[in-house]
Amino acid sequence: AQSVTQPDIHITVSEGASLELRCNYSYGATPYLFWYVQSPGQGLQLLLKYFSGDTLVQGIKGFEAEFKRSQSSFNLRKPSVHWSDAAEYFCAVGTFMSGYNKLIFGAGTRLAVHP
């Protein structure tokens, strides 16, 4: 069955430090992969997506993610974190199930940023 694992529940980084959030997926075919961000009190906002082609994808707010098929991973990165990046981050895989396209979400990683 398709699944998404985000191994880190909480991560704390200092402002200006680099960031990598881990995501592993289980999916039989070529995956459609997404990262969403949820700021406190807000809905989920799409950061970036991978469908095919270049395995390094760029997103909004300076984020990027790299698809590694051999590791079944789609880790999110940012070279220098800003205090406004404190939020919860969700990785998701797109799947065709029960007759429609749906997203399977990971449990999320909550990011705290220290000044």
Binding site: Y32, F34, Y36, G41, Q42, G43, L44, Q45, L46, K49, F51, F90, G94, T95, S98, G99, Y100, N101, K102, L103, F105, A107, G108
Partner: protein, 115 residues
Amino acid sequence: DARVTQTPRHKVTEMGQEVTMRCQPILGHNTVFWYRQTMMQGLELLAYFRNRAPLDDSGMPKDRFSAEMPDATLATLKIQPSEPRDSAVYFCASGRGQGTSYEQYFGPGTRLTVT
């Protein structure tokens, strides 16, 4: 800047009362999803509509929850009677849902508290 809107943003009600949450999907999107988010369960898919037809509501407690889409600009989620365990944030998301389109765009959510 097209976005999904949800009303109300916050709702506090007493156990046994009826609650109706509303969602306006992005114009031109033909799929609507209802999710519930809690600390314990994370994001749960409650219902899915395509072209206003309910295609999957297997995630919804049938005895008290109902979802409808009376027209292309309005989706509703109703709880009757409400219970304290229904306290959560309810999100609506819309998308194109065609071909390889898995992207979903989320509204800001309705935070429901049932006392």
